[in-house]
Symmetry: C2
Subunit: 282 residues, 2 copies
């Protein structure tokens, strides 16, 4: 017998992974949750049938979502992570001795508890003393906050289901207010390649760029996400991620990383012309 | 009825495309050839069942294989293309008024003739007066040549089947001799992500870097190739693709490109740490 997990990247494109074992299937208040084990990607989990995190390429995503803002401003002390239930983003943040407080707001406690059970590779640092977990809606959490964080990382799913509000203008407004004067917002920014993802990329960018002084997009290679061409948004009240980045300082920290380095920090903001054009036209 | 084309990216990973029509199936002396039409990628063709070129993302590959060396040395006049039967590489080269001669050596005439029939988007410029087509083995073609070309582009399949010799040390030796003193070699360099591709990437790099003064690797997002993380090799007797590139000059040419630009020229040489490590260890 062969067991294959298949994700529809579009109505006309499918990506399939041979599964060794279907470790868990359940449903939370918010979504369907499945954990699998596989030869190629190790353990992975899906939400509503879409690949979220796997052991083989999670390092790409978590390196790029954390180290780009942290190398831009190594003085970041207070961080808010919204989403990111697998724990990988928090894991990377805890590597910075300078960081004093990491609040993680994940709507679905079940994702966190299951990740602790099946994906210790990402969920290993949620018990760091600087980490506080809030199992709440991120949209409500940021409402009313002022100058509370130096960095907000929106580590969300696609803008369907429970992640939808994390792509709304009201949410970005509240993030802006919740940030200190030199605050940085990094968010999961979809992909330029398939039509539906590109539409969401443009919608997110058009909202964020109206709010922030600096609003850029950077790219990385994420093989298990649709098209493998994935983006994060970098928005900031003050710091430009290229001109102001403290790359030498970051290198002196001596953090060992498998994807991120200070060359790719710069290189990842160089976007293909078709992506640049799409972002400029919004 | 639904018709799906499926490629095995590894034994445990499959990529499937919904097909509107199977336009052609045949076999040449060298390989199985299929052309399809699809909603998502337009027309595409496969060799021995592996995706070669499609209308949706061919621009990525052909932009990056041509404009990176051409922007490094805009004085390139004589070019040899080995492989590239779809014609896309030649199409991009013909956009440079400075280029005087383009020799294309493709082992399989059938690929060229079928591309002319089904993929005019890439095969449209093979009748440019500067282009000469040779339906021969590229390995034999370069044997014995001396200082004949300013640029050799190896636009090959994977190193299995007819493309195998294009990854051999003897072939690279002959390319070196066939290049002028400031000659550049660009080659299809596989991918760092899946094990088999990464092995070929390392093998190719270890051979090329022993021969050339400058030997670098650059990356791009190629959604329909395994993992979407694909590489070209840039080797040269003289020019460094970063330090020596004539990016302002290239911009003055006013070529409209959908993927390449002079920012991504620089950015594409910034490799993730795990790729850099793999290339350094060979």
């Amino acid at each position: 017998m062969e067991l294959w997990y298949t994700e529809e990247h579009t109505d006309n494109v499918r990506f399939s992974i041979k599964v060794k074992e279907h470790l868990y299937h359940g449903e939370s208040e918010f979504q369907k949750i499945d954990f699998f084990d596989s030869q190629e990607f190790g353990k992975f989990f899906t939400l509503d049938g879409l690949m979220m995190v796997n052991e083989k390429d999670e390092f790409v995503y978590h390196d790029m979502i954390v180290h780009v803002p942290m190398a831009t401003n190594p003085d970041i002390k207070n961080v808010l992570v919204i989403g990111g239930g697998d724990g990988g983003t928090v894991r990377e943040l805890t590597r910075y001795p300078n960081v004093e407080k990491i609040d993680m707001v994940e709507i679905d406690e079940k994702v966190v508890r299951l990740s602790e059970e099946y994906l210790p590779i990402t969920a290993s640092k949620l018990n760091d003393p600087r980490v506080s977990l809030y199992f709440e809606d991120g949209v409500a959490f940021v409402d009313g906050l002022e100058s509370a964080y130096d960095l907000i990382i929106v580590d969300s799913t696609d803008p369907i289901g429970p992640g939808e509000g994390l792509f709304s203008k009201a949410f970005y407004d509240n993030c802006y207010r919740a940030l200190t004067e030199d605050g940085i917002l990094v968010n999961q920014h979809e992909s330029p390649y398939y039509e539906r993802d590109a539409r969401e990329m443009k919608r997110a960018h058009s909202k964020i760029k109206k709010l922030f002084n600096v609003s850029k997009v950077y790219q990385f290679h994420m093989p298990t996400y649709p098209s493998g061409h994935w983006l994060f948004g970098f928005a900031s009240k003050k710091y430009d991620p290229l001109k102001d980045a403290k790359l030498d300082e970051w290198n002196k920290l001596g953090l060992k990383t498998k994807y991120y380095n200070t060359e790719i920090h710069k290189g990842s903001f160089a976007l293909p012309s078709f992506v640049r054009d799409m972002l400029e036209e919004v």
